[in-house]
């Protein structure tokens, strides 16, 4: 689940087993860590789901803390799941770790808009400007604005590059009327001599007035300005979506990009359906209720077996690729005894074929899996009541 997964193309079947093995092992460790909370803070005995259910909050905090140091450069500080959903990779723009301003609310749109604008203009708003002034990704596109001199009392910062984001930060802190300026690219600067557009403040900031300077050759009444601001917001979102959907960055034009986005969403939804069908097919052998004991029983010898280099087993077990945009990529998986799930009669015969040969290996863990807890018995009772009615 590292950076390699960002690229949708999976590695070829031939040479990448070790990485996939490591990945799958890591995933199983993750399941183990969730299923067996081995932390001392849990009051109930570790290793049962009731403990897990009992303290989801503690678990979340602990897990987040242990992944915190590895993620600190990439994510905001909000520990709740509603905060950061994604992190943006800005390879060509970022000179260092990405610091999002603390004044920004941790909700998704403001972060995204701010980050995206920062990426575009290579100026990162940091909590401490000295960190930024040391090396905040200086870009040749930034140009010194002659109009910066009219607001010296705002900040005593030497360089002009840091002045802009700090100014924005000051604006949102003081919540006063102030010129919110945005730096422009050099080409636009040369075209429109000393004019600059206003920084369209993000949704999280609440300034009473936004002083805007119109670009040269454009209408200045409030309607068109508002329209332009709205269009810029929408274009920013479209750019982000273009980056997300693979193969969309070359396409110009809103309608085609929207086409691609729609296709992508549809293909992802279809993939989820297929995967749930396959999980349902796998299911008769595995009772999800006793997941922890089953995994611990079966994955021990598996972990040791992988290290031995049982080549015959490995191509079958670990030949999964990361899920990509093309729906067709994940279908061909050369697994032993794995038939297509779609012809259901075929799959049922596959199970019955395997059934009589290996009843005991799976029934033994199956016997120990049946754990009725009050919640599930309530569900069962409600089902029974419904059938009776």
């Amino acid at each position: 689940m590292g950076p390699a997964r960002c690229s949708g193309v999976g590695s070829g079947n031939s040479g990448a087993y070790t990485t996939e093995i490591a990945e799958s092992l890591r995933f199983e460790e993750e399941i183990h860590s969730i299923v067996h909370p081995s932390l001392d803070s849990s009051p109930a005995a570790g290793g049962s789901f009731t403990a897990l259910l009992g303290l989801p909050a503690n678990q979340a905090v602990e897990l987040l803390h242990e992944t915190g140091p590895s993620e600190a450069p990439g994510s905001a500080a909000a520990p709740s799941p509603t905060g950061e959903l994604w992190r943006l990779r800005l390879g060509e723009h970022a000179a260092g770790p990405l610091h999002l301003p603390l004044g920004c609310s941790p909700t998704f749109p403001s972060n995204a808009a701010l980050v995206e604008r920062a990426a575009r203009f290579s100026v990162f708003a940091a909590e401490d400007s000295p960190a930024l002034s040391s090396g905040g990704g200086p870009s040749p596109r930034l140009k010194a604005e002659p109009l910066d001199s009219d607001s010296p009392p705002l900040l005593p910062i030497p360089t002009e590059k840091t002045q802009r984001p700090a100014k924005r930060k000051e604006c949102e802190k003081s919540k006063a009327k102030g010129p919110a300026k945005k730096s422009k690219s050099a080409e636009e600067n040369t075209a429109a001599a000393a004019k600059e557009t206003a920084a369209e403040n993000t949704d999280g900031e609440k300034l009473p007035y936004v002083h805007v300077r119109a670009r040269r050759g454009q209408a200045t009444d409030s309607h068109s300005l508002a329209e332009r601001a709205r269009r810029e917001k929408i274009n920013a979102r479209m750019k982000l979506l273009q980056e997300l959907v693979p193969g969309c960055s070359k396409i110009t034009g809103t309608a085609l990009v929207l086409d691609e986005i729609i296709n992508h969403v549809q293909s992802l939804q279809r993939q989820v359906e297929f995967l749930s069908m396959r999980l349902a097919a796998v299911n008769p052998r595995i009772d999800f209720g006793g997941l922890d004991s089953f995994l611990s029983a079966e994955c021990g010898p598996l972990a040791t077996a992988n290290g031995r280099g049982g080549v015959a087993l490995d191509p079958a077990l670990w030949s999964s690729h990361p899920v990509t945009a093309n729906g067709a990529r994940w279908l061909p998986q050369p697994q032993i005894r794995h038939v297509d799930v779609w012809p259901t009669q075929q799959s049922s015969t596959a199970w019955t074929r395997d059934g009589p040969a290996h009843p005991h290996a799976l029934l033994n863990p199956g016997a120990s899996l049946v754990g009725y807890d009050p919640a599930s018995s309530v569900l069962l009772n409600s089902n029974q009541l419904k059938t009776e009615l």
């Binding site: 960002c6 799941p81 209408a219 992802l268 299911n283 999964s320 290996a361």
Partner: protein
Amino acid sequence: MQATKSFERAFLRQLLRVFRLSAVSYKSMSLQERKSAIKLSADVAMASARGSRKWTRGLIAKLSEEDEHRSFLRLILGTEYERLTKPCHGSWKIPRSKKIVRRSLRVCSRRKNNLRAPHGFKSSVLARTLVEKRTHALKRLVPGGESLDGYSLLDEALDYVISLRAQADLMQKLLTTFEASKLSALSKCTLPERKASFVGK
């Protein structure tokens, strides 16, 4: 960009919890019923792991249209269920008066035609209808998207795509894990001498 690890972990935890809660009813279901139960569980886990967004609310509202799912959802989400479903209905359309809409459209189109240089064939109209058609299609795809305007629709679509991708990734990993465990169990049973040799090494 991709989903953060905290989201993936929360997602996995919710999914395992949901599977455990609904495990008892798995034994007597057909394949189709199991598949829809798994899909429902995955969607609920995704929505509850993400938190409170417009599309999560729309998704939960759509899922709770059937009564049997509603009790299931209430069991899983607990107190969050009421909070998530109260303010935003799934397919709520913004109530618009036709007269006002027609008048504003007329004014807007007149202003647009006067501002730009009026020429014979209005290509902008064509472009706008194309975009509108696609926008409507996207609104139907994204849960809860019917009542969103252009900008928030794109925002929710972005979020939704990331979550969907994370969901598909997670389920794929689960699948390989289960199949691997199953295969190891089978091989353990049929070839004890191979296992002995493994353990020996």
